[in-house]
Symmetry: C2
Subunit: 228 residues, 2 copies
Amino acid sequence: MSREPRGKRQPYSVDVVALTPRDNELAVLLERRNEGTGRDKSVRWVIPWTVSKSGEGLTDLSQRALTNSIGPATVWTTQVGAFSDGPHPGGSELSILYVALVPMGQATVASENFEWFLLSELPPLAERQSQMLQESVAAVRDRLDLYPVAFKLLPATFTLSELQHMYELLLGRRLHKASFRRALTAAALVEPTDEWRSEGRGRPAQLYRFGPRKRRRGRRGVRFDLLG
Amino acid sequence: MSREPRGKRQPYSVDVVALTPRDNELAVLLERRNEGTGRDKSVRWVIPWTVSKSGEGLTDLSQRALTNSIGPATVWTTQVGAFSDGPHPGGSELSILYVALVPMGQATVASENFEWFLLSELPPLAERQSQMLQESVAAVRDRLDLYPVAFKLLPATFTLSELQHMYELLLGRRLHKASFRRALTAAALVEPTDEWRSEGRGRPAQLYRFGPRKRRRGRRGVRFDLLG
DNA sequence: GACATTAGTCGCATTATGTGACTAATATGC
DNA sequence: GCATATTAGTCACATAATGCGACTAATGTC
């Protein structure tokens, strides 16, 4: 993470909100910033960011921010937007925000300066940081039925119950098992592996992988009912 | 529109793609840039933009770009994202892109430097410009059933046939009249006025206005079928 | 007044969805 | 072993949503 001297005003930074499932909730990766010295010492938490070095593209910058914070990993990343409200810890006028989806179980940290926080147990954040985190989660939820975000938060193979729980986590409501599976097979989104997982008690579950097969796109009418 | 000297490298600009319906298609507002002099004179078309003057917010900047190009008007505007690929006519590293939806019949120009082009009759555009235009249209289409974008492209009052044609334009496919209206009334999205419009031949149509009434949100299952 | 044209509605067949109850396969306690 | 708890996975049926052709209504044109 770049530690620019405070006086230098950067034109823009690339900030990355990394999200991962944890304890049936979402967790976000934050960076520790030590403020002041001696008796005035305090700790502040911020969203990891980078600042342009040369003519790097935005994607490169977001990748660098990721590597610096969670370590080397390949995770799905997408741009959320640009934010200018409030001050930025790096002094940048503009934050270009990316959200990264880290699969369950891969939520590492690159150094002890980074820590994962459940969304329900967040430390206080500055204005822009708070806004960006909120928009990131909203962006993920809004794209739920347009991009396979739930699959990006799961390991390569998973049980159908795990998949359903991920959707329930993201939607914030319970789903009916039979309906969920019927819709899933109708869409030909997953394919079974020949592996099974026995998770303590209960019947073992078959493992599936994400594998959308070609299917005729639904030529359906317009949905007005979720229009805001 | 700011005409910075070419040597000065701006950190970022705010670019605005203004869209309006026209001839059963979408049209975009472009700005004429005269290149070279004398025998080498040529014309290039670019997406209108502004550059930060002081501590203006992004929204202010997009409004200024709009006023400069289509003139004073209040239109629905939303951010699309940040783009860094390819050069920018104003020399900015970064373009923060907004898309503005101009209602049918309000597609004015602030000066003769601006002109509306049908998407099917576009002049050649530079790389970043072309990419931004494509993303703008995609953003509008993707948000079709999340935001009332079709209504933002219509006058305050409209006939149900006009509304249907707008949806057909944005979706790129035909819809069935009865199904469209049934879904519309089920969602309680429009309310009738007491006005009627007689458009030459055929039965006069009743005018409606956008007026979403409170309705219980559909607690429906997940849709996997439009997942990309 | 016949006809073309656009608005608006109805009814019904088909498809999609909500939901409870069922079977299957494992672990645990006795 | 056997009853019971627990999780996976499926079925069947009632209800709701959707596709779609055919209908009526109101206007202009010839």
